[in-house]
Every structure is written in structure tokens, then in C-alpha cells.
């Protein structure tokens, strides 16, 4: 269970996140959507303890993993890029197979395309069991096939570990297919919160409707 109360993040006078209350149940898959600067990444980085909040409280599971939006390629081949987490080589190869990267296993990670690197980054994070998985735009660099593989892998991992998944996205497909719940953020505040298909079909307010109309285009 994640319980957020009065969570704020400010940079000087500017408030980038202001969440009076948010509760996420165990095993839930929650997607955050919103325009640039709406606070999606800030929220995930606060939960990953990579940022310090300006106020409020967060109760969350201890074992949390975070995949940043900008994937990093460690020196060396793809297998080494996954085994830095301490997992076995066989597990790394299984994940590469799952994300259709096994044919590149011996290549240097620095030579991968953006989409391939993002899938490798997901392999790395999925090689460690956790209670809370935080994914920052996990399909932003992927093509349609790559995005489908990512969604499938996230769902399989969640089924296997029973973890809670929080992800930010600009993709209605990811929100609808991988999440049980969709929250739309605007200026660090919640504009809409509910079942993804319902929000996408019937937004709660004018701003959310306008934002989703932009997505549909």
C-alpha cells in the first residue's frame, strides 16, 4: 500500500507537485499521464527517494525499483548491463529473450538504438524482485512492437511478483493496456483519477477532456 499525504515539491516559489491525498493499493498498476511539467517524473523520483520532498508524508514498500526515462548504457555487452544488478547470467539471457534482444546479447550496449536501450533498461530493472516498480515513460522511445513487448513484460513481472506498478506515460495505449487506474496530472495536481478506459472515454472535467482530445489526435 502506498499512502501519500500533503506531498509537495517546490523549487523556490514554484510548486511542481502538490498532492493532498493519494492511496494506491497493493498489486495495483497505476499510470500517470499529463503534459510536460505536470509532475509525473517528480512524483516517481520522490517515491524512488532520488528527490527530497518539500513537505508531506509517503508510506510505501521498502523494496522499490525505479527505471528513469533516460536509459543509461553501462560499458560492456547487454548481459553485463543486466548482471550489474547481481542477477545470474541465465536470468539476464531469459529477459533479453523476452524483450527480443537476445540476438544483440554480445553487442556493446552503447551501440543500441533508443528503443532497444529502453528495452534493455527494462530488462535490468525486471531482473530484481521488488514490491514497488516505478517506471518513467517506459515506452517513450519504442515503436509499436517494442511498446507491446514492454507492456507484456511489465504485466508478466507484476503477475509473478505481485508488486505495485506506477508508471508515467504519454501513451494512451500503455495507460489502457498496462494499468488498472489512470491519473491525469496538471501543474502538479490531480485532474482525473479512475479506470483508464472510463477516463479516456469520459473525462471528468473540461481540462482532462481537452488533454485527452490531444492524445487522440
Amino acid at each position: 500500500m502506498i499512502e501519500i499525504r500533503d506531498l509537495k515539491k517546490c523549487y523556490g516559489e514554484r510548486t511542481v507537485l502538490d498532492l493532498p491525498e493519494l492511496t494506491v493499493g497493493d498489486g495495483e498498476a497505476l499510470a500517470f499521464a499529463g503534459p510536460n511539467g505536470s509532475g509525473k517524473t517528480t512524483l516517481l523520483r520522490l517515491l524512488a527517494e532520488l528527490l527530497k520532498s518539500s513537505g508531506g508524508t509517503v508510506k510505501k514498500p521498502d523494496k522499490a525499483l525505479y527505471m528513469p526515462q533516460q536509459s543509461y548504457a553501462f560499458k560492456g555487452d547487454l548481459v553485463r548491463n543486466i548482471t550489474v544488478t547481481g542477477c545470474e547470467k541465465s536470468e539476464a539471457k531469459r529477459l533479453l529473450e523476452k524483450l527480443e534482444l537476445s540476438h544483440l546479447a554480445e553487442k556493446k550496449a552503447a551501440s543500441l538504438s533508443g528503443g532497444e536501450l529502453q528495452r534493455l533498461s527494462l530488462c535490468r530493472v525486471l531482473s530484481v524482485p521488488c514490491e514497488l516498480l516505478l517506471l518513467d515513460e517506459p515506452t517513450s522511445a519504442c515503436d509499436a512492437k517494442g511498446a507491446a513487448l514492454v507492456i507484456e513484460a511489465i504485466k508478466a513481472y507484476q503477475k509473478e511478483t505481485g508488486c505495485t506498478v506506477l508508471m508515467s506515460t504519454h501513451s494512451p495505449v500503455l495507460a489502457a493496456k498496462a494499468a488498472d487506474r489512470l491519473i491525469i496530472l496538471n501543474g502538479g495536481r490531480i485532474e482525473a483519477d479512475g479506470e483508464p478506459k472510463r477516463i479516456l472515454m469520459n473525462p471528468e472535467n473540461e481540462w482532462a477532456e481537452h488533454f485527452i482530445a490531444g492524445w487522440k489526435i
Binding site: 532520488l50 525499483l65 553501462f74 550489474v84 552503447a110
Partner: protein, 228 residues
């Protein structure tokens, strides 16, 4: 050309005094570089990765000390270790040990300044990725070192380059004593003062060759894959 010939002749003749000077130079540079890196790299890592009050002032101070004139450092150490100085009883003045101390004062700010800038600029994504994966601090530091090994090598080689080429501080505290504290740079200075320009140039060429050999060896040890 005469200088190149003389440098070559000096090297193949295995001149005892030259070998002794090269030995003192390498010993001094090795110890001053090693001590400076042992002190400077962890401090650079701390400054590069932490936010704290006074960090900006500390960085300005380090950047100022990076340009510390060697003669000032030499004078400072001389005052400390002279017979009537606070450490005079140690009898270290005009020894290689005190030359190393003077060089550590000169080089450590360079190591701190360069390594903190490197770590601040390039290790953030490594740290974010490692912390996101829940890796231990020790493992995160290990990954930062492994990922930045070529940059760190540049820091170490800059420190070594500063040490081997330094003349002001070592001549004040070492005294350029034959068979004892004479190093390549002070020998070059002496030969120039004597008007033996060709011989001084030959020594300079040998100094450059030593620098090149150390750089090549270090690059070979910390080998980067070609396609990285």
C-alpha cells in the same frame, strides 16, 4: 638535432648520474601522485555527489588552489620544515620526502577539482540508475569508477604530469643536491644556467619520453573498448 643525438647518447650510455636523477624523479612523482590521488579522489567524489552548505565557496577555494604557484607552495613547506620551523626536528628539509610533501600540497587541489567536476558532470546518470536499482553504495561507487575510468585516468595523469614537470617547489625544498634530491627539471634548470643548452634540451627530451611512456602504460592498463 644535436640535442636529440645527445639525449640518445645519454640514454644508451646508461650514465649513472642520469639514471639516478631519473630514479629520484620517478620515485618523487610516483609517491606525490599516489598520495594526492588517495586524498583527492575520495574528496572529489564527495564534493561531486553531495550537496551541502558552503559547497560553492569550497569549489572556488579549490579552483584557486589549483593555480597555486609552486614557489609559494615550496616556500610554505620550507618555512614549516626549516630548522626553526614547527616540523624542523624531523630533519626532512632537502630530502625527497619533503619534495613529495610540497608536491602533494600542489597536486591534491588539482585532483579534487578535476575529479569533482568529472563526477558531478558524468556520474549522475550512473548514480540515478544504480540507486533506482537499489544497489548498495559500495556497488554504486564501483560502477562510477568503472564507468569513468578513462576520465579518472586523465585526472591521475594530469597529477603525474604536474608532478614530473614541477620545478619551483622541489628546487626550494629539495635544494637540487647532486646524487640526492636532483630531479630532471632541476637538472635542466642547472644546465641552462650553466649555458649548456644542448645538454639541457637533451634532458628535456628524456623527460618528455618518460612522460609519454607513463601515459602509454597507463592507457594500456586502463584499456577502453574501441566501440565504447
Amino acid at each position: 638535432m644535436e640535442s636529440f643525438q645527445q639525449a640518445f647518447d645519454l640514454l644508451i650510455s646508461l650514465d649513472k648520474e642520469l639514471l639516478q636523477i631519473i630514479g629520484v624523479t620517478l620515485r618523487m612523482s610516483f609517491f606525490s601522485t599516489t598520495i594526492s590521488c588517495l586524498l583527492g579522489l575520495p574528496l572529489g567524489a564527495l564534493i561531486g555527489t553531495r550537496s551541502f552548505r558552503g559547497k560553492s565557496f569550497l569549489k572556488k577555494l579549490i579552483h584557486t588552489l589549483m593555480g597555486l604557484p609552486p614557489v609559494v607552495a615550496g616556500l610554505f613547506v620550507y618555512v614549516l620544515f626549516t630548522h626553526y620551523g614547527p616540523f624542523g626536528s624531523l630533519n626532512l628539509l632537502f630530502t625527497v620526502k619533503v619534495m613529495v610533501i610540497a608536491q602533494v600540497i600542489l597536486i591534491t587541489p588539482i585532483v579534487i577539482g578535476l575529479s569533482s567536476s568529472f563526477i558531478e558532470g558524468t556520474s549522475k546518470p550512473v548514480i540515478d540508475t544504480a540507486r533506482g536499482l537499489g544497489l548498495s553504495k559500495a556497488k554504486t561507487v564501483g560502477l562510477c569508477l568503472s564507468e569513468g575510468r578513462s576520465s579518472l585516468l586523465s585526472v591521475v595523469l594530469s597529477a603525474f604530469g604536474r608532478s614530473i614537470a614541477e620545478v619551483g617547489a622541489v628546487s626550494i625544498v629539495g635544494g637540487n643536491i647532486q646524487w640526492k634530491t636532483r630531479v630532471m627539471t632541476t637538472a635542466i634548470m642547472l644546465e641552462t644556467n650553466k649555458g649548456k643548452f644542448s645538454f639541457a634540451l637533451a634532458l628535456g627530451i628524456i623527460l618528455l619520453l618518460i612522460g609519454f611512456a607513463v601515459n602509454a602504460l597507463a592507457s594500456f592498463i586502463v584499456k577502453e573498448p574501441a566501440d565504447d
